[in-house]
Amino acid sequence: MSLLDAENVTRFYGEFEPCGDCVDLTGPTHGRNQCPDCGTVVGCADVDLDVERGEVLGIVGESGSGKSSLAEMLALDLAATAGNVEFASYDGNLLDANYEERVDLRNTNVGMVHQHVRDGLNLEFTGGGNVAESLLAAGWRNFDEIRARVRDLFEETEVPVDRMDDPTDTYSGGMQRRVQIAKAIANDPELVILDEPTTGLDVSVQARVLDMFRRIQREQDVATIVVSHDLGVVRLLADRTVVMRHGRVIESGLTDRVMEDPQREYTQTLINSVI
């Protein structure tokens, strides 16, 4: 069985009661993600995907195509409108997990690196404190053991250990991203979800963060979903890739196949606009 097997994952946004035809009236064929009848925004709909242990899945698509909505639902950070997700460490539909189960799964099984640093870190806390928070939540209690583990994680993610006790808002963007990754992998999760892991970073810093993550991913063989509008990021990390548009998956396959032999018109345009 796959580590994660998702079917029909759907998320609506909006203050109105959905009319019932929102999915049929949106998507790539209509060129929109907002329902013309009731105004509901279809963040994503009918998304199927699966991830095996140790595998890296890329999700690409333009801004607003639904990548973050999908990633946040899988990371248990966002409630789903519909869908069924089987996950190896959970009995039943992951999307139906209750509050306590979500907290538990987020602490031990699924690590998330958010697109916006503030969603993932408390910038007033120290960097070490942010990472320690994950360990405490997973039941670590011994102060010295926690310090030692945080230090190891800083080394692993290449954050200077002597900055451990400084407030996180004094860190550079690249360091903050690394601390997020350290926090996400702190409890050896089975799945890590990275949302735009390089946005806002200088190109050379991007490269170092990606390389660091790739090393960790391979050493620990941790399954990863990496969301990015940057095809280069996905190309570097992902074994397989899905392409999203207007909230739907429109193409998927081996990453090099999607990039070099895209089948769908939209994917061809997307790839051509980069080259």
């Binding site: 570097l236 074994d239 396959g253 070099e260």
Partner: protein, 255 residues
């Protein structure tokens, strides 16, 4: 024994961005590759050489036909097997060196080459030793071993790319013009290395444009012409044919 059986392989590209135009990359190509053989693919620019290799690696999705590969756990059709199966085969049995190296900039050359070995479970120091030997055999100056390939010249990168592809001695190795950017001396070193480092356990299918290289490395030659298979010949025949072509060309210009 046959390791690869290519049967009526067809690749068509539909280019939506230029009005749905269809381009035929490969038109019903069939040939077999024997276990342990070194097969060269030659043909003019645009004749379908890289498309053929990419179909074998599934970077291109074949439009028709079959590619039967004798894997260590039985026969598998590379044109239609699942993506997961293909990823496994890429990890364990099939290697590919593209014409261009794409690697993360911040990885030293030595680690780029060592990586496939490390992923196979070889200890890092031992993997780095093999990588160093390979790069040295390819005349890559030692001071570049710990530098980042992103800053390398085309020929230097190509050596890193070739070393990385051959390092794990895959059962099937696909090479796309692995020596095109090398000077004659380095080219000779590369050919020598292919001969020395690779054993009977590795079957090679490689695209080459240099006749001399083909004559030195290949057992048989597949000639492609305008997306179709023109002929398959053994390397002696190919060498004779091409040398008589050269004679002919020379007599025409009156040398």
């Amino acid at each position: 024994m046959t390791i690869l059986e290519i049967d009526q392989l067809r690749k068509e590209f539909q280019m939506h961005v230029v009005g749905g135009k269809r381009v035929v990359g490969l038109d019903g190509v069939s040939f077999d590759v024997a276990d342990g053989e070194f097969l060269a693919i030659v043909g003019e620019s645009g004749s379908g050489k890289s498309s053929l290799l990419k179909c074998l690696y599934r970077t291109y999705l074949p439009s028709g036909g079959a590619i039967r590969f004798e894997s260590t756990d039985g026969s598998v059709d590379l044109a239609s097997c699942s993506e997961r199966r293909l990823l496994e085969l890429r990890d364990d049995e099939i290697g590919y060196a593209s014409q261009f190296l794409d690697e993360i900039p911040r990885v030293p050359a030595l680690d780029v080459v060592a990586r496939p070995l490390v992923e196979e479970g070889v200890e890092r120091p031992a993997a780095r030793d093999v990588a160093r030997d390979l790069l040295t055999a390819l005349n890559l100056p030692e001071e570049l071993h710990d530098a980042y390939p992103a800053t390398f010249s085309g020929g230097e990168r190509q050596r890193v790319n070739l070393a990385r592809a051959i390092a794990p001695r895959p059962r099937l190795l696909l090479l796309d013009e692995p020596t095109s950017a090398l000077d004659p001396e380095t080219k000779a070193a590369a050919i020598d290395l292919l001969d020395r480092y690779l054993t009977e356990e590795t079957t090679v299918v490689g695209v080459f444009h240099n006749r001399d290289v083909v004559a030195q490395v290949a057992d048989r030659v597949v000639v492609l012409d305008d997306a179709a298979l023109q002929r398959v010949v053994d390397v002696e025949t190919y060498a004779e044919e091409t040398s008589s072509e050269i004679d002919l060309a020379e007599s025409e210009v009156g040398v």
